[in-house]
Subunit: 204 residues, 2 copies
Amino acid sequence: MKPARSTICVDKLLDAAQTVVLQGGAASITLDAVAAEAGVSKGGLLHHFPSKEKLIEAMVVRIVAEWRQDVMEAIEAQPHGPGRVARAFLAMSFEDHPDFADCVRRSTVVLLTALTANPKLVQPLRDVYRELETLIANDGLKPGYGEAVLSAIDGLWFSKIFGTRDVSAERSAAIRASLARLVEEGVAGVEGRMESKQTKGAGA
Amino acid sequence: MKPARSTICVDKLLDAAQTVVLQGGAASITLDAVAAEAGVSKGGLLHHFPSKEKLIEAMVVRIVAEWRQDVMEAIEAQPHGPGRVARAFLAMSFEDHPDFADCVRRSTVVLLTALTANPKLVQPLRDVYRELETLIANDGLKPGYGEAVLSAIDGLWFSKIFGTRDVSAERSAAIRASLARLVEEGVAGVEGRMESKQTKGAGA
DNA sequence: GTCTATATCAAGATAGAC
DNA sequence: GTCTATCTTGATATAGAC
């Protein structure tokens, strides 16, 4: 009912936990390290989170909510029409949004931490993805096109996580252009089917 | 010079380590667990791998080599011509190759294990990716198209790792079709530029 | 080359003072 | 609600017998 000071405190602890994993990697999260980073004792930390798992769980919930918020805002920022969601993902992922880039970096390491601690803790992310899949499915594109774009974005996350690719700005722009082309194809496919209604019914 | 029995033994230990992480997750790898799975004592295990990190390192080297081998064979299996590499990735990732699906499952968990233990251990994967980027860059596609396909494949790995998406066979086929379409676009883009040679020289 | 036994240590969690 | 002190566990790695 009145979580004023308590919320502030919890947020401070979650910030500290994020800082720890961001600086030291997923495996470096210990109650000692988080407590030290937050400037409290282990006892004080454990008063708010009865276990390390609860702490990680809260981290996941918060970061996923933040990311979901960014996604929704990115969609709102796009003009209505077919491919709106797909275009939002492209804009979000390829344009220079330092805040969002930060969110991605934090998200990846937090999610990794959760995954290794206990795969069930990743559930909030899965829930948002289910939501996104519905949005993509209703994005007005030919089936598979929006999903492919989303998958390519996931692939960028993958490469951030494992450090597999260092995309130059030039190459990044080329990738974005090709994905934008794919969205156009997806739009055209649907419009084409709408214009020429002679297609053999239950194709999809 | 003569690694006959020694190699067999090492392979047995690496198999055991893989089994452990495959069954219990990345965090479950302990010297005790691996030794038990291999049917040796901890001392016996540590005789071959002086530290846990060395064990993980060897796991990574082996699984990455195996995966690279699969990739190269998939490329060989494709007809020559523009988009060969991109098509190989699509074939590998979407067709029913139980062996390869297994390789992917093992790879992901092994790489996760390495990443959390020490990010430097993932280096063999990064090396192969650099190799792949060269192959993709010379695949005869318009810039960005092959890279986008590779990124989408990475995205499938991402979703396997985090369990974010359950792709139905139908949707999977649709995604593949759209990516195949993207490859065609990439081929057409280059052929278009080749036919009309009025382009400004040093584009690539 | 493989084993047992053990040293060492770090980390999660608890108890109870303030 | 925050602290200090402590318990307990489990894991890495070593030492030395066989």
